[in-house]
Amino acid sequence: MRCEDARELLTARVDGELDGVQADALATHLDGCAACRAESARRTRERSAWREALAGDHTPDDLRRRVLAAPVPVALPLLLRPLAWAAAAVLAVLLIAPPLLQRLGDGDATLRPAAVTLVLDGGDVGPATALATETLNLGDSPF
């Protein structure tokens, strides 16, 4: 094994990610290579120092409160779901049509109809990401 190959295995070994065959091959190389043994010790020190330096943060309380206030999804009975979709479709048309027509009129190249979705949960939907990426959810949350 070349030192170069041993180094990548060393990184994985310190992360606890080597299988038996790889670990044996690396051990054989380490037996005969002081440079890679030193490298192994260094990576171990480095990993714990870096982790300690980077892992201390705690989320600010106001963000925690905001997240915990996320609206509970409404689980609708199966029979009502087609009705909900129909209502959503009507709402979508009502909401999307005016800006759509306006933007088409302006020749807006950024127009992305697919990015316009609805959130039925109500309440705080946060920044645009939630709107742009969520699909309509009818209650398959695990919570």
């Binding site: 180094r7 990548e8 990184t11 994985a12 992360d15 990610e17 260094r42 990576r43 020190r45 480095e46 990993r47 120092a49 870096w50 982790r51 330096a53 980077l54 892992a55 201390g56 943060d57 705690h58 989320t59 600010p60 963000l63 925690r64 905001r66 997240v67 915990l68 996320a70 609206p71 509970v72 999804p73 689980a75 807006d108 190249a109 950024t110 992305r112 949960d121 939907v125 946060g126 920044p127 645009a128 990401t129 939630a130 742009a132 990426t133 969520e134 959810n137 209650g139 398959d140 949350s141 695990p142 919570f143």
Partner: protein, 171 residues
């Protein structure tokens, strides 16, 4: 599917809020943005997430959601820049070094060095080194093969080390 259970979501927040926020902060290097996308991530999880044996989604699923929030953000940013060419020349705002809670020299040096990695290497590094995810979990979260996780982790470590040495922080 399972019915609404507030205690499950509270447990998920307890388990993952700090690390999702930390991951997004490291990935995006912007605290306001990290907060907004952390909030978005948990909204998604609140609405829909596959629950494991403990009633909670896996760490891989949670971080996949977080990364999707970041990818969506970058996509919107590109769309806006394409639509408004005069913004294209603006560099990404630098990370405020006064934002994080830890202010050790090593932390600051690592922060700067992380900023020099591309997003793909930074994501793997943060999930592995800081959050302690297994390579298989990272592969699932990022949608890449485990072997790619291993090589990205190794290259990220090499690049960070070189940069830290340059800044006088060799270990």
């Amino acid at each position: 599917m399972a019915q609404v259970r507030d205690d499950g979501f509270a447990r998920l927040v307890e388990r993952d809020l700090d690390r999702v926020h930390r991951f997004l902060h490291g990935l995006l290097r912007d605290e306001d943005l990290a907060r907004d996308l952390t909030h978005d991530t948990f909204l998604r999880l609140r609405r829909s997430a596959p629950a494991g044996d403990d009633g909670l989604p896996t760490a891989a699923y949670v971080f996949a959601c977080a990364r999707h929030a970041a990818v969506d953000h970058w996509r919107r940013l590109r769309t806006r820049r394409d639509a408004a060419p005069h913004l294209a020349a603006d560099p990404a705002p630098p990370t405020p070094t006064d934002a994080p809670l830890h202010t050790t020299e090593l932390r600051e040096a690592l922060d700067r060095a992380l900023g020099l990695l591309d997003e793909e290497h930074r994501a793997v590094f943060l999930l592995s080194e800081v959050e302690g995810l297994r390579y298989a979990e990272i592969a699932e979260a990022l949608g890449i093969p485990p072997g790619t996780v291993a090589s990205r982790k190794h290259h990220a470590v090499q690049d960070l080390r070189r940069e830290l040495e340059r800044m006088g922080h060799a270990l």
